[in-house]
């Protein structure tokens, strides 16, 4: 276990140390204290490290994460786990805008609420939010799963491609081309496993599923004259 106190050391020191590990280095553990809202804490890791951050982080925490498991005890500013590739980012508190935006893979868990644009342009990441999300969640989402245990704000899944959205509470409004879809046993089983992986206690039977009506991004022969 290596300790970093961000009152004494800089984020640059921390990230340089974390970046000194490469894909195959395994198992090293780090504890980071007093982040005090600093930006880009533990961004760009490319190794199966375990990083525990004790406190509140600023923008882009654990951005571009690959392989690592990053846990944050407090709240996070904009862009938590932005463009995550793999690994796990687990936040105890609330996240600000565009959490897990454009994430390609891995798992992002937000125990509290996420604000606007959670999972915007997600490309394969799994996101589990214990609370509610703000407006424009999963905007242009392409692949992956977004699980919302609370409520979803306006325009959920606007212009969505193929991601799956699960919501336990209410949906303020659906975005363009996003529709409610049948929740099959297969979906319930997948959701159960995902909630279990996230460590979030919720009953899959209480969720509804939303996804793409596939009208926006498929060529319609009736519109051929428009071109």
């Amino acid at each position: 276990m290596r300790e970093f106190d961000l009152r004494e050391q800089t984020v640059r020191d921390l990230n340089a140390q974390l970046h000194s590990h490469h894909g195959s280095d395994a198992g090293d553990q780090y504890r980071v204290s007093h982040p005090n809202g600093a930006h880009a804490v533990a961004a760009g890791i490319d190794a199966p490290l375990k990083v525990d951050i004790d406190g509140h982080v600023g923008y882009y925490c654990a951005g571009m994460n690959k392989h690592a498991s990053v846990r944050i005890s407090g709240t996070a500013g904009s862009g938590l786990a932005e463009n995550i590739m793999s690994g796990t980012v687990h936040l105890r508190g609330n996240a600000s805008q565009y959490a897990a935006a454009s994430g390609h893979g891995g798992l992002v868990v937000i125990e509290g609420d996420a604000s606007a644009r959670c999972g915007i342009s997600m490309k394969g990441v799994d996101i589990v939010v214990g609370g509610s999300v703000g407006h424009m969640a999963a905007f242009m989402a392409q692949a992956g799963n977004l699980v919302i245990c609370g409520d979803a704000g306006h325009h959920l899944g606007d212009s969505i491609y193929e991601a799956r959205l699960f919501v336990r509470g209410s949906v303020a409004s659906l975005g363009a081309d996003c529709v409610e879809k049948e929740m099959t046993d297969q979906h319930r089983e997948m959701l159960r496993k995902l909630l279990e992986r996230a460590g979030i206690d919720a009953d899959p039977d209480e969720f509804r599923r939303y996804g793409s009506a596939r009208n926006l991004y498929h060529f319609n022969i009736d519109h051929a004259d428009a071109y």
Partner: protein, 303 residues
């Protein structure tokens, strides 16, 4: 980009430290706005029927200082012997035994070379170009007590980097506005307000927002109603913090383009563009922290 901070003291024993608590918050927002900074601080109320003004000498050459002594003599001649003036470099805080409207009219008539940055019974504003730390030091903000304060760090996008274009902007007696964002319909709105008699000193979009709110308040709106009308009439990106005699209000545009975070403990309520400014406050680690929702007006007032 710009930075905003606001601090409202709940525990009276902390009021003496208001400036000392606000200063590190503002410095933490330096990267968001390194070209100018400003502070509105609410302290030392004047007696009923009296007025407190802040005036700013904007046209000084380097090394030149304004003749505040001559101004003090002129004020005493016009308003009587108890007129008082406290110098803060290129700013002065003036106390006069007359209603605000009369004081403002006198300054506009007699001293058009001075920029009147605030009027009321409690508010004082200080602003200048330069790094936040330098602006804070120049006016001794860290040594000031008070009930609540707002601060702004500016990275100009819509207009020139000048002392007059710095925030806060006055919107009425004891009211001021700081803004992070940019308004896209400010030219149109400025023309329409000018037709209604609102005067502007700069090409700044935030001054238009301040002028708009001031106009709504004169039309009889409460601050909340004025902000509600603002959501309808102002187009663009904004997080506004509006200081009033008894507290402050926060509003983000309905799309939520610009950041804001709030925190509260038993001792204080704070808002900022980013949490790292709030992290400088005592007890921040255990504060209740949340993000204000877009298009929702949040208001704190002394009970």
């Amino acid at each position: 980009m710009c930075g905003i901070v606001g601090l409202f003291i709940k525990r009276p024993a902390l009021e003496a430290r208001l400036g000392a608590l606000l200063a590190p918050m503002l410095v933490e927002m330096s990267e968001r706005g390194p070209d100018s900074a400003g502070i509105a601080i609410y302290r030392d109320p004047v007696a009923e029927g009296n007025t407190k003004l802040t005036v700013l000498a904007t046209q000084l050459a380097a090394g030149e200082s304004y003749d505040w002594r001559a101004l003090t003599a002129a004020l005493r001649a016009a308003f009587g012997g108890i007129a008082a003036l406290a110098e803060y470099d290129n700013h002065a805080v003036i106390r006069l035994p007359a209603p605000a409207a009369d004081c403002v009219a006198w300054f506009n008539r007699e001293h058009p070379e001075l920029l009147l940055t605030s009027s009321g019974g409690v508010i004082e504003t200080f602003k200048d170009v330069g790094l936040p730390a330098a602006v804070l030091a120049r006016y001794g903000i860290a040594g000031m007590g008070g009930s609540h304060a707002l601060g702004h760090t500016r990275m100009a996008t819509e207009s020139a980097v000048t002392i007059a274009g710095s925030h806060p902007f006055s919107t009425g007696d004891d009211l001021c506005l700081v803004h992070n964002g940019s308004l896209s319909n400010h030219n149109d709105l400025r023309r329409s307000l000018q037709r209604r008699g609102v005067q502007f000193r700069t090409e700044n979009d935030s001054e238009v927002a301040a002028g708009y709110l001031g106009w709504r308040l004169r039309e009889g709106d409460s601050l909340k109603q004025a902000l509600e009308h603002g959501i309808r009439d102002m187009d663009g990106f904004y997080t506004f913090a509006v200081g009033s005699r008894d507290g402050f209000a926060v509003l983000r545009d309905p799309i939520g383009c610009k950041p804001a975070v709030m925190a509260e403990t038993d001792d204080w309520v704070a808002m900022s563009s980013e949490f790292r400014a709030i992290a400088t406050l005592p007890g921040a680690d255990d504060a209740r922290i949340w993000e204000p929702e877009p298009g929702v007006i949040y208001n704190w007032e002394r009970g």
